[in-house]
């Protein structure tokens, strides 16, 4: 395409955003939709987080003090669902919306109306899901993994609403994923080959394929539940010749790739941030790409490591133990490459870098406990204890959430045209970091000592550490208010940001003026 022709066609089309509420309702602008995704995700983070508050308050001391066990079960279920589907995934889609077009030199996402639809499904899906809490019999109370038959025969009546909410969320995710793939495949600027793409785009491309592969599986499993509950089928009902273990196989075939869906975009963010603040190119770009592809492919053949205690045959256990261990190799490659990127760089430690370093350290701890959990004979002991809770919070909170914070602080100047308060942002990091470790590290200990997960009350031997965990959780949760304050302060009275606020930053997004114009790259730039 000739750039000149494009100039003539679009020269007088540069209009700003629409006014009022319609700007948001009808928006097809990737930046507006990205902003809505991010704000939605922040709201969900606080709702899911306040549920964690309720859980930790009840677990502060042994005995039942504040809530009843059935409400406790609803809280753990909703906390998991909201954090996974409401906080982490939409935040990544929001980042993809904002950044992918700006990073590959495209004017917008390839399918803007689909983009609008995939966002606007979300508030309705979550309204549906959260309304179950006010229904007769309460909301979903079977854990975010909703194992049958607890979630079918023995579920509260509101489970039907939960199923429809999951269907909607799946549809939204698939639309978002299609949009990312089409955008990356078709709208890269001239000269931007796949192996010149920023790492964030690579990780999102692979994440999008994972989403398209597994969200239909989730839709399938909840549909089978729906049939069992309302149409007298017996997919998961042993009494009718069904198989409760089938549920777990299908669920985890979705569930394991899902956890990589929640971590790969963070890998991408960290791979952008660490080179910037090390003032050095990303170490081993090609092997980083291959490692992500390897992780994504392997994620499809490890699912039953979540099910070592269901009574699998010996060969099955062996297979899933070995494949799970294999994942450690490409994951290790990524961590070594990040560290080598820092090595002999010229480092500074602004907030995005702090979050990225926090990510590398804490994600590595979570990865190492993952290797322990992969060993089937030992997992017989770890399974369903707080050791597992510690493990997956160590990979998801510093993994996904720290990655998101790093991204927000890193690109906020470009988005808003204003600089955030570095001192307050660093305070946010350090309070979060300490609170997080105080919350999740002692969980390893109580887990090893024998505390099962998902219990509203516990034997006295676990009392001391649970109190520490609760204090840590209150600290971690409250510290997120600092984040909100930093955001508001930036928007209200932030110093104007420079076009290139970070000395070492590279990439097309930094060639744009600050703040990024409403329509960026109306003509594609040319990449060397």
């Amino acid at each position: 395409m000739s750039t000149q022709a494009a100039d003539i066609d679009h020269g007088d089309h540069d209009h700003g955003p629409a006014k009022g509420i319609t700007r948001w309702l009808y928006s097809t602008n990737h930046k507006d939709i990205g902003t809505m995704y991010l704000i939605f995700s922040l709201v969900m983070l606080f709702i899911g987080g306040s549920m964690a508050f309720v859980i930790r308050a009840e677990l502060f001391q042994p005995g039942l003090q504040l809530i009843e066990p059935e409400f406790f079960n609803q809280m753990i279920t909703m906390h998991g669902l909201i954090m996974v589907f409401g906080a982490v995934m939409p935040a990544f889609v929001g980042l993809a919306n904002w950044m992918i077009p700006m990073m590959i030199g495209a004017p917008d996402m390839a399918l803007p109306r689909l983009n609008n639809l995939s966002f606007w499904i979300l508030p309705f899906a979550f309204a549906l899901m959260m309304s179950t809490l006010f229904m007769d019999g309460g909301g979903p109370n079977f854990g975010w993994t909703f194992y049958a038959p607890l979630s079918t025969t023995y579920a509260p009546p509101s489970v039907t609403f939960f199923i429809f909410a999951i269907h909607l969320l799946g549809a939204s995710s698939i639309m978002g994923a299609i949009n990312v793939i089409v955008t990356i495949m078709n709208m890269r600027a001239p000269g931007m080959t796949y192996f010149k793409m920023p790492m964030f785009c690579w990780t999102w491309l692979i994440t999008a394929f994972l989403l398209i592969a597994v969200m239909p599986v989730l839709a399938g499993v909840v549909t089978m539940m729906l049939m069992d509950i309302h149409f007298a089928t017996a997919f998961f009902d042993a009494g009718g010749g069904g198989d409760p273990v089938l549920f777990q196989h299908v669920f985890w075939f979705f569930g394991h790739p899902e956890v990589y869906i929640m971590i790969l975009p963070s890998f991408g963010v960290v791979s952008q941030v660490i080179p910037t603040f090390s003032r050095k190119k990303l170490f081993g770009y090609h092997s980083m790409v291959y490692a992500i592809i390897a992780i994504a492919v392997l994620s499809f053949v490890v699912w039953a490591h979540h099910m070592f205690t269901v009574g699998m045959p010996f060969v099955g256990e062996l297979f899933f133990m070995y494949t799970t261990m294999l994942i450690a190799i490409p994951t290790g490659v990524k961590i070594f490459n990040w560290i080598s990127t820092m090595f002999r760089g010229s480092m500074t430690f602004e907030t995005p870098m702090l979050y990225s370093i926090g990510f590398v350290v804490l994600f590595t701890i979570g990865g190492l406990s993952g290797i322990m959990l992969a060993l089937a004979p030992v997992d017989m002991v770890y399974q369903d204890t707080y050791f597992v809770v510690a493990h997956f919070h160590y990979v998801l909170v510093p993994g996904a959430i720290f990655g998101i914070f790093a991204a927000v602080y890193y690109w906020l100047p470009k988005w808003t045209g204003k600089m955030y308060d570095e001192g307050l942002a660093k305070l946010h990091f350090w309070v979060s970091f300490i609170g997080l470790n105080l919350t999740f590290f002692p969980m390893h200990f109580v887990g090893l000592a024998g505390m099962p997960r998902r219990i509203p009350d516990y034997p006295l031997q676990f009392a001391d550490f649970n109190m520490i965990v609760s204090i840590g959780a209150f600290m971690f949760g409250t510290s997120q208010l600092i984040f909100v304050y930093v955001l508001i302060k930036t928007l209200r009275k932030g110093e104007p940001a420079e076009q290139l606020p970070w000395e070492g930053a590279e990439g097309l997004e930094w060639t744009l003026p600050t703040p990024a114009p409403y329509h960026s790259f109306p003509t594609p730039p040319t990449v060397e």
Binding site: P69, L150, P377
Partner: protein, 372 residues
């Protein structure tokens, strides 16, 4: 931060020798060969993980300390090295292979299918365990005995809070015991840390696991799979005794069973049934239907004023005896003795303002149990 990791590593290294009662940091070694093998494997991998983190974080923090702009360090062109990439692919692979050998061996041992000395069928119920000694005509339920007052913080919690049951599983030491696990309703998991036995109890499946306990003692565990409202309140207590004590215990249990059978033939007055019925109700029904009979609708309906409790006594008995398939209501025909069933039904019909005024005789339940 590096210091913190190092301190933590040191902390863990001390764990095997220091016994913590409350601040327990690590796995128990347990009392079976399997649990010791699991413990050793756990420690091996833990040390390897600590060593890896010391090296990886060591390099990282060394670099963070030295290669910073504030020290005037200039960035170097160092961003690709095939040799390094190969190195850090191969080294972790070797470490993994080193771990996999003992892990595979431990897994093989845990799948030992050699003939067992004692077979026990374990069935999970919402929210209790049933133990059936195969070939011994012995079959009983094991239910939490922690008083509600302790759970509700109205009285001081005892040392075995939430880990105590009315009838523990009694087994002899040094015998291979095979567990056959299944469930009556949802998925549960039978877990005793000291035995390193954890296996899901799944409706429609019979899972197999085994143990051979080396030491006399009482070993406590909990259900490990979310199974509904009272998931946290269905503990497991295993009492390991010598073979001689086990034989004595078996004989006692059989004698008790005969006394129980004789009790249903005795002449029960309504007052006696009401008194007994309240106890049976609190232990078996109150978790769902609540101590005041109000239930938690819609999942757990009220008994107070319910058409079944106020209707014909035959329907009431059938509901309690067989349960309601497809709901959380289990059948109690096998769980409770004839006296208990008669007592609890009599109680339900005449408590909390229910004033039917009739009573059920244990002999009527006997007839149903006899197959009528």
């Amino acid at each position: 931060m590096f210091k913190k990791v190092a301190v933590f590593g040191l902390f863990l290294a001390l764990v095997p020798t220091v016994a913590f009662s409350d601040w327990q940091l690590n796995l128990n070694r347990g009392v079976t060969d399997t649990s010791i093998a699991v413990y050793d494997l756990h420690m091996l991998v833990l040390y390897i993980c600590v060593a890896i983190s010391v090296v990886v974080f060591g390099v990282m923090f060394w670099s963070i300390y030295h290669h910073r702009k504030s020290k005037g360090f200039e960035s170097h062109e160092f961003h690709d090295s095939t040799a390094l990439e190969i190195l850090w692919t191969i080294v972790p692979t070797i470490i993994l292979i080193v771990i996999l050998f003992p892990a595979t061996k431990a897994l093989i041992n845990s799948y030992d299918t050699e003939e067992s000395d004692i077979d026990i069928q374990i069935t999970g119920y919402q929210w209790k365990w049933r133990y059936k000694y195969i070939g011994e005509d012995l079959d009983f339920f094991s239910v939490l005995t922690t008083p509600t007052d302790e759970i509700r913080n109205k009285s001081e919690k005892n040392e075995n809070y939430l880990l105590e049951v009315d009838k523990p599983l009694v087994v002899p030491i040094n015998k291979k015991i095979r567990f056959l696990l299944t469930s009556n309703d949802v998925i549960h998991a039978w877990w005793v840390p000291d035995l390193a036995v954890k296996k899901d109890a799944i409706p429609g499946f019979i899972n197999e696991d085994w143990t051979r306990i080396n030491e006399v003692g009482i070993y406590r565990g909990q259900c490990a799979e979310l199974c509904g409202k009272d998931h946290g309140f269905m503990p497991i207590v295993v009492k390991a005794v010598t073979q001689e004590d086990y034989v004595i215990w078996l004989a006692e249990q059989k004698a008790l069973k005969e006394i129980e059978a004789a009790a249903s033939q005795a002449d029960w007055s309504m007052e006696a049934l009401l008194v007994k019925g309240e106890g049976v109700y609190i232990k078996n029904c109150a978790a769902c239907h609540q101590p005041n009979g109000m239930g938690i609708p819609p999942v757990f309906p009220a008994i107070k004023g319910s058409p079944i409790a106020l209707g014909p006594i035959g329907t009431h008995l059938a509901t309690v005896f067989e349960g309601r398939p497809g709901t959380a209501m289990a059948g109690f025909g096998e769980q409770l003795s004839s006296v208990d069933i008669a007592a609890v039904i009599t109680y339900q019909r005449n408590a909390w303002g229910n004033e039917v005024g009739d009573m059920l005789s244990p002999t009527d339940v006997d007839k149903l149990k006899g197959g009528e």
